[in-house]
């Protein structure tokens, strides 16, 4: 729970920002992603592509038929070249804790389609 002061601050921001845009608030975009393919970037150089089946206000999520990509970069000791390794795995149905999430982007509409 937030203190009354900060809650009011957040609420007034919400109210003021609703005018003039198709989306009233950021979570509306996530709602539009339900049952759609999404790209999710997580902390620790992880990415998921899968179908969004559920989420809550913390951005905890359930993603189905997901493919996870984990990237790790190593520096070659001699050439100082950066080697990027990616590991992929399939996750049939997974709950993702929201605090690791950095961004989420729908894959069903391409750049510019929303305007």
């Amino acid at each position: 729970m937030q203190s009354a002061g900060s809650a009011a601050e957040g609420a007034s921001t919400n109210g003021a920002l609703t005018g003039g845009s198709i989306l009233g608030e950021p979570s509306d975009l996530v709602r539009l992603c339900l049952d759609e393919l999404v790209y999710v970037k997580l902390r620790g150089e992880r990415e998921l592509v899968g179908r969004l089946h559920g989420y809550d206000q913390h951005l905890n999520m359930v993603v189905g038929d997901a493919e996870e990509t984990v990237m790790s970069t190593e520096v070659d000791e001699e050439t100082f070249e950066q080697i990027v390794r990616t590991r992929k795995r399939k996750l049939p149905l997974v709950f993702v804790r929201g605090d690791t999430l950095i961004l989420i982007s729908p894959l069903f509409r391409q750049s510019g389609a929303s305007r």
């Binding site: 007034s12 109210g15 809550d56 997974v94 993702v96």
Partner: protein, 104 residues
């Protein structure tokens, strides 16, 4: 709260909890609380050589919710349609609760 209810329906099922330190713990879900702390029974650590101390951990354990990265769920035990509907309901309820005091 909402996902706690989902996990509640999976009590008795075998799930794999993947922690933020990459440790994977597989076990039968015993209980879950609103913080998404989970209790597991018949615990198996998938890479015991990486975490030998956890070999001592045989029967049950509690995982703090904030340490969890993923919970791998059994797909045949989750009705994703129901989950989507519930998500929409909760999302609109949350939104209604937030917007009303501002609008009026």
């Amino acid at each position: 709260m909402f996902f706690a209810a989902l996990f509640q329906t999976l009590v008795g099922q075998v799930v794999t909890v993947e922690l933020k330190n990459d440790l994977c713990i597989r076990g039968t879900l015993l209980s879950v609380d609103p913080y998404l702390n989970v209790r597991l029974a018949d615990v198996v650590v998938t890479e015991p050589e990486a975490f030998p101390a956890l070999l001592a951990l045989r029967h049950s354990c509690t995982v703090r919710g904030s340490c969890v990265r993923y919970v791998h769920l059994p797909p045949d035990q989750v009705d994703v349609q129901l989950l989507q509907d519930a998500t929409r309901q909760v999302a609109s309820a949350v939104k209604a609760a937030r917007v009303r005091p501002v609008g009026e």
